[in-house]
């Protein structure tokens, strides 16, 4: 297959086309807009539906409407646009309706900034709407992995009848890397949960007790079946770094440098953060001295899931160290400096 150099956002749009997405409805917001730009040309070319809606709330509901009829549909957004979509994600979770959202995170509260960041984690993982629900969240760290994740995401959403978020960062959307695009595929049949207009639909989850039971069973399956991570050097690690997305690329470089010097550090990179890859921690050296969370948030978001995973695996309250990198992507030097601080007995914030 031929490799092409593609901008992350364009590659994301094309991956959705290849995955059989039949409807894209969206509203532009930097730094996700090139996904729409790409699809505004490609969807009509393929005889599919592209809609620039009046706002984010309308666009995500159009996605839901299409998925009600069993058609693959998606939107892409960022920051405040993602916030506006939470009314729907809560509704869709209750209705067990699949959907796919690409969340190209830009940092900051409210209007925020255009810098990359990871503070869309909590909203993506826990759902920002009312009620208690979860979404499956892919966290690719290369454009190729993002393409592969998007290609798979529709099937995942349909399999569990659950929302799927592709969580990327502004720089992932703007940068270019070589990618191989997968072949075209389609959802060939109408799912049995789809509304077909024949008045035979009786797939409702029923009352609250049945809904609750269905969600419990579903979440147990998701947790068991969607564990996905990459790991390096866990067996003998004295300290283990945990990082996803672009910061995981700095962390990967730092770990490689340290291990080349004979320093016993390990690395877990969640490829899916929800469900959190708790199974990864089973392989960690039982005498590990601590975990280092490398994420770009101001107060820590993934660190809380990490701390729970560590608590679940180790009896002796192993420290989970957090350093608020704020916005951007920490450099390799900054990751190494944090490690030095911890190794010398210092700390920033411990969970």
């Amino acid at each position: 297959m031929k490799k092409t150099l593609m901008k992350g956002n364009h590659a994301a749009g094309e991956a959705a086309v290849r995955a059989g997405c039949m409807l894209f409805a969206g509203y532009p917001i930097t730094p996700s807009t090139e996904i729409m730009e790409h699809l505004s040309a490609r969807m009509p070319e393929e005889g599919r539906t592209f809609i620039q809606a009046e706002n984010e709330i309308a666009s995500i509901h159009m996605v839901g409407g299409a998925y009600c009829t069993g058609k693959r549909a998606m939107t892409a957004t960022s920051a405040g646009g993602f916030s506006l979509m939470q009314e729907f994600t809560a509704y869709a979770s209750d209705a067990e309706l699949p959907f796919v959202i690409i969340n190209v995170v830009r940092s900051g509260r409210g209007i925020g900034s255009l810098d990359p960041g990871q503070d869309g984690y909590r909203q993506s993982v826990y759902g920002g709407g009312n009620g208690d629900y979860r979404q499956i969240v892919y966290t690719p760290n290369t454009i190729q992995e993002m393409v592969d994740d998007i290609y798979e995401s529709f099937e995942t959403a349909e399999k569990y009848r659950m929302g799927v978020i592709i969580l990327t960062e502004s720089s992932m959307g703007q940068m270019m890397e070589p990618v191989v695009m997968p072949d075209y595929k389609f959802l060939e049949t109408t799912p049995d949960w789809a509304v077909t207009g024949t008045h035979k639909w009786d797939r409702g989850a029923g009352g609250w007790p049945m809904k609750r039971k269905a969600w419990e069973e579903k979440m147990a399956r998701v947790k068991a079946e969607m564990q996905r991570w990459d790991a390096v050097g866990l067996e003998d690690a004295e300290y283990v770094f945990v990082s996803y997305g672009l910061p995981s690329r700095s962390t990967g470089e730092a770990v490689k440098l340290l291990r080349a010097q004979g320093v016993k550090v390990g690395f877990i990179r969640p490829k899916i953060v929800s469900p959190f890859p708790v199974d990864a921690f089973k392989a960690v050296n039982r005498d590990v001295k601590g975990f280092l969370c490398i994420e770009t948030t101001e107060f820590g978001q993934m660190v809380q899931d990490l701390a729970l995973a560590v608590k679940g695996e180790f009896a002796n309250n192993v420290p989970v160290h957090f350093n608020a990198y704020g916005i951007g992507v920490p450099s390799v030097k900054e990751v190494l400096a944090f490690y030095e601080l911890i190794r010398e007995g210092g700390s920033k914030e411990v969970f």
Partner: protein, 180 residues
């Protein structure tokens, strides 16, 4: 992993020059990343691109952000600020035509002045100063052969539907290549 920074004003071709290098790396089966950065005003604003690529076909690219560059291509004076992101001994290719007065370069870097605008003008490709710099970069670094880079450059422009500019771009590339 190799790293190159292309910096200048928007409109000077610094994003395109980076793309030529990334394209060349990709077509030699290397992993590569290209990361742009530009201000709100594209033309005339501050712009740069950072390109990284593996030294063999296996090496993966770490963080795509500017970190420790092997080469800086500086198309204007403010771009020389990025020397702070250069490794010791890094190559700095400077567009001499943008330096209206002498610049006090720091020790420990290999500074090469290239009259990029004049060379581009001399081959009747006034807009090709960044391509001149790519020619100079390939010659000085030996990252890839001139043939590989020229082929990839033409392939890249072909994808953009701009093959009609091939002769002009090849002339600009050669002008830079032969000038250093």
């Amino acid at each position: 992993m190799k790293e190159a920074i292309f910096a200048g004003f928007g409109g000077q071709g610094v994003l395109t020059a980076g793309l030529v290098l990334a394209y060349t790396a990709m077509e030699q089966d290397r992993n590569t990343s290209w990361l742009p950065s530009y201000g709100a005003s594209m033309r005339g604003g501050k712009a740069n691109s950072t390109v990284k690529f593996g030294e063999d076909t296996e090496e993966v690219i770490g963080v795509p952000m500017m970190a420790e560059a092997d080469v800086l291509v500086a198309m204007n004076r403010p771009s020389l600020d990025y020397m702070s992101f250069c490794k010791p001994g890094a190559l700095v290719l400077v567009n001499q035509d943008a330096l209206d007065e002498p610049y006090d370069f720091p020790e420990g870097l290999e500074i090469v002045l290239v009259p990029a605008a004049q060379l581009a003008y001399s081959v009747k490709n006034a807009k090709g100063a960044s391509i001149v710099m790519i020619g100079a970069l390939i010659k000085k670094t030996g990252f890839f052969t001139a043939e590989q880079a020229k082929q990839s450059m033409c392939n890249m422009f072909a994808e953009k539907g701009k093959s009609k500019l091939d002769a002009l771009n090849l002339a600009a590339f050669d002008a830079g290549y032969n000038a250093v």
